[in-house]
Symmetry: C2
Subunit: 162 residues, 2 copies
Amino acid sequence: MQPFIRFATKDDAPAIIGLIQGLANFEKASDQVVITADDLVRDGFGTNPKFWCYVAEIPGEIETEIVGMALFYPRYSTWKGPTIHLEDLMVQEEFRGQGVGTALYRSVLTFARERKVRRVNWEVLDWNTPAIEFYVKSGAEILKHWHVVSMDDQALEAYLES
Amino acid sequence: MQPFIRFATKDDAPAIIGLIQGLANFEKASDQVVITADDLVRDGFGTNPKFWCYVAEIPGEIETEIVGMALFYPRYSTWKGPTIHLEDLMVQEEFRGQGVGTALYRSVLTFARERKVRRVNWEVLDWNTPAIEFYVKSGAEILKHWHVVSMDDQALEAYLES
């Protein structure tokens, strides 16, 4: 069944949080999600939204169900200018293998093409082989020589006070 | 000599482009920089700037010289909410080892603390050992299991037309 892809609205925030938590569980980081549906509403659906989000809907027996989402936002490359970053692409486990992820992926890339950005970036876990194969087959490049570096607020506070 | 750190203005764009190109050369990607000083002015110093930038100045014999810069912008984590991404941190080769990079780094982290973000991210090349050691010593974490993925506009076009 073809999923219907549309921009998320604030009413989708609880479903999106569910998908975010599902992806964090899959990435073995289930305790890392601290944001709430209220945070998403404030940050993504007010004036000056900090991200965009597509959701994938499939008609269920009783009501239409959100089975996947792609959350993305602008970044800036000092080499290429404006770019798009795909933060999360997630499909509920029981709806995988039906083209939902591909439909979301194509939607984000189409959005990027319309914006005429020179690059789309995202990150993938090194053990997530199916995702890596999908991305490579689509023409994306895995930049194995670049490491992601992260400093959380506690480390930042400790460093600045040192 | 202590560098003076201040926010960049549009008049700094040519100096910033010089530093961007210098960093790309160091990263063995000298042909990758396609943006110009005009692009930087439009993207960073108009309404709704796409990035922020600090520059480091040192008084020279004739005039004050810009010897380093840090360019950064907001991102959004589906786990942590708003974050800051440090895109480039660069000090002219002949001014390294004098605390300029540390002063720029602390400025960006202080900015992040004032914004109360829960995380600051950036990327580093795996062979850039001095940078990695500096970051780890400061309390940042190198996320070795995450790969950066990139799709340029040509690959994107080819995929969407397939």
